[in-house]
């Protein structure tokens, strides 16, 4: 009996230690997933949990699944999530304040009740029988899986294939926007701007007092007040303008003081 098969049919002390340690981490990761304010953080926590689950799969003798879990789930699906998070950006939806009356209480109640019931159910079930995978893996684990997939589950397999293609096409249909009219030329844009007369010259550049990432920082007008015009429309809509006017003034003051000191020192050194 190979080592692989042995791992799938018995539980060693090592596995127990691994379960308790990694299990704790997985639960913490799951909790972080639902509690983290930022979507990116949630995604990262979830990815962590998934990797732990992959380890558990391996521990349970599901080697193929364990690898697939890492490759497909953590590698592909979670990355897709991150892409979308990037596309959508940080939104107001991230706020953890509840808007539906009683939703949180109900959710807690249901969650608690559900969890207790589920665990009680498992505890109630007679799960004393423990076979291990030794026999079915005798001809090789992946071969065993393949045999099942391509014999008994062939229809399901084919249909999931069709489903995947459909999903891919569906995603394209949903996200792709067909341009229905000719794009306006530079001339036309310029003429429209003149006609509307709202903002004739180009918009002012943002981040006059730029430091690190100036796209979301409004440029200051000569009197020191920030001008929203200088910030990207999208950011404006999301209310993601960072007002650094006071900070900038303080910086200026500090700079002046520093330079004054230096000047003073130079004078003194003279």
């Amino acid at each position: 009996m190979s080592a692989l098969a042995a791992a799938a049919s018995t539980t060693s002390t090592g596995e127990a230690v691994q379960f308790w340690v990694l299990g704790t981490v997985a639960v913490i990761g799951a909790l972080c997933t639902i509690l983290m304010k930022k979507a990116v953080h949630s995604a990262l926590c979830l990815a962590g949990t998934m990797i732990i689950l992959a380890v558990f799969y391996l521990a349970n003798g599901a080697y193929f699944l364990g690898v697939v879990q890492v490759v497909v789930y953590t590698g592909a699906i979670m990355m897709l999530f991150l892409f979308v998070v990037m596309l959508v950006g940080v939104t107001a939806a991230d706020s953890l304040t509840e808007t539906i009356k009683g939703q949180r209480w109900l959710a807690a109640l249901c969650g608690l009740g559900f969890g207790i019931l589920l665990i009680a159910g498992i505890a109630n079930a007679k799960l004393t029988h423990f076979n291990g995978l030794g026999r079915v893996n005798s001809a090789g684990h992946v071969e065993g899986l393949a045999e099942l997939i391509f014999t008994r589950y062939i229809f399901a397999f084919e249909i999931t294939g069709a489903l995947l293609i459909t999903a891919a096409v569906g995603a394209m249909v949903l996200t792709h926007r067909e341009r229905t009219e000719r794009a306006a030329t530079q001339r036309e844009l310029a003429e429209r701007r003149v006609r509307e007369g709202v903002q004739l010259p180009p918009l002012p550049a943002p981040g006059v007092y730029a430091r690190h990432n100036a796209v979301d920082i409004a440029g200051l007008l000569p009197d020191g007040t920030p001008s929203e015009l200088t910030v990207n429309k999208t950011l404006r809509a999301r209310g993601q303008i960072r007002d650094v006017s006071s900070e900038a003034l303080e910086d200026l003051k500090a700079l002046e003081q520093k330079s004054a000191e230096r000047l003073g020192r130079e004078e003194a050194s003279k």
Binding site: I100, G113, F114, G121, N124
Partner: protein, 646 residues
Amino acid sequence: MENLIALLVAAPLLGAAVLLCGGRRLDKAGHWLGTLFAAASFGIGVALFADMLGRGADDRTVHQRLFSWIPVEGFQADVAFQLDQLSMTFVLLITGVGTLIHIYSIGYMEHDERRRRFFGYLNLFLAAMLLLVLADNYLLLYVGWEGVGLASYLLIGFWQHKPSAATAAKKAFLVNRVGDMGLSIAIMIMFTTFGTFAFGPVFGAVDGTSEGTLTAIALMLLLAACGKSAQVPLQSWLGDAMEGPTPVSALIHAATMVTAGVYLITRSGAVFDAAPDAQTAVVVVGAVTLLFGAIVGCAKDDIKKALAGSTMSQIGYMILAAGLGPIGYVFAIMHLVTHGFFKAGLFLGAGSVMHGMNDEVDMRKYGGLRKYMPITFVTFGLGYLAIIGFPGLSGFWSKDKIIEAAFAKGGTEGWILGGVALLGAAITAFYMTRVMLLTFFGEKRWQPAPDADAVPSAEPAAEHRAGQLPHPHESPKTMTLPMIVLAFGSVFAGGLFSINEAFVKWLEPVTSFEHGNPPLGAGAITASTVVVLLIGVGLAYVQYGRKPVPVVAPRGSWLTRAARRDLLQDDFNHVVLVRGGEHLTRSLVYVDHSLVDGVVNGTAASVGGLSGRLRKLQNGYARSYAVSMFGGTAILIAATLLMRAV
């Protein structure tokens, strides 16, 4: 020969069908056709009569079974006829008087554009009435019973454009229906008790049946008789029924249909004889109606309504006699026949008078007509003498026998009944003399006919004569001829019947007969009858013959006023039944709308309200739905666990 029985009924029925379905094409000849069919029926009747006379007294009953009518498990109703002496008597009376009245109607209805239909209805009536008396079981009798009710309804309401006529017709039918209810319940009891309702088996099984059951049957039959024969308490329709054309009043509401109750009781003699309590009820009804009708007759100024009161009273006599049992049956029928003659004659006479008087019906506006209408006067006069029981005329023979039989009932009862009958005779004499005096004697009190626009005129072709003074004239021959024939009957029929007790012997095999033993001698009773008769006539003469008659009726005593209003029976009906019924139906309509429907609509509304509340749960937030899904799953798991645990 017995195969002809069906033809008796079929002939007028065919006539009715032809006339009613024939359409306008028959308008010209319709009345002659109708009369022909009636006469044909009479001819068949006479032939059958001759045939019957040719056989022995005990062998005269014949049957004809046409077909099985309603064959249902345990229930056999046949269309079958039975012709015996009793039916024969009726057949001759119905077809005979019927034919005469058909002839009379030719003249009377001359100006009516719907004359064809009138004759159709008359034929329909004859057919139904013949069916009634010829049926050999109660169910078929019931068909005829309701059939005459229908014909009566159609004929009373013949002038449908008059609301009063339409109302009177409806009332007649409704009151009759109450009676019919009695008959149908009686049939149901019979079926439950005997398993059949044919005459023969039922009468044969009377001996082994409890008296209670028989009394129930008899009382229900009495209820039926009360309805059809206008006996208290179901008499109220007869007065109103005078809204119909006069020949109808003569035929249906005097001579034939209203006597069906007497026929029913006589026919069911076996049942009544075995139920003495019911017989007492019959006698009481008869006696009360006798006086009731007579009193009403005294107060009415409308000539037809006065005669209607008289009819009621005379049928009271018959019912009284029929209630006396074997000592009375024969005389009830005998009075029925003689009454058929003289009352039909009287009505035809009244019709003749109205025909000549612009359809005026108020006797106070007649007077002195004997000079203008001699034939009418003579025939009416003979009818008058017959009805008051003038010695020697028909009414005398039959009524006297009834009074004798009443006394012969025996005991206090007998004295009371005899006294009532005598009193009735006196009042009869009084009111008939009053009618006679007001109509044919005294001075002229004619007035222009009422304005046609104000009151839609009853009689045909009256409209163009409205507003003119009437020109009383003798009626055409088609009208006078029947009157003359009937007058002959009024004079001689009673005498003929009484020769050698011919009528008693004729009917005895069917109705059974016992000689009554009145506590007084027959002579004494006859004498007292004549005495009370003279008193009645004398009083009337004092009241109406000696003094001028006011054209507008005086207010009169409370009794007069009550009698004018049919002794307040109508008021009672109106207040209790009509008003009560109206309130009941109105409140039920309300109940149906707001309670029965309301419960359902209320349920719907509350479901709607509830779903309005529940709708708030559907707030559109996907997460809320998720909570319910999640909670639902939790509950399902809990339920599964519980089920496993139990």
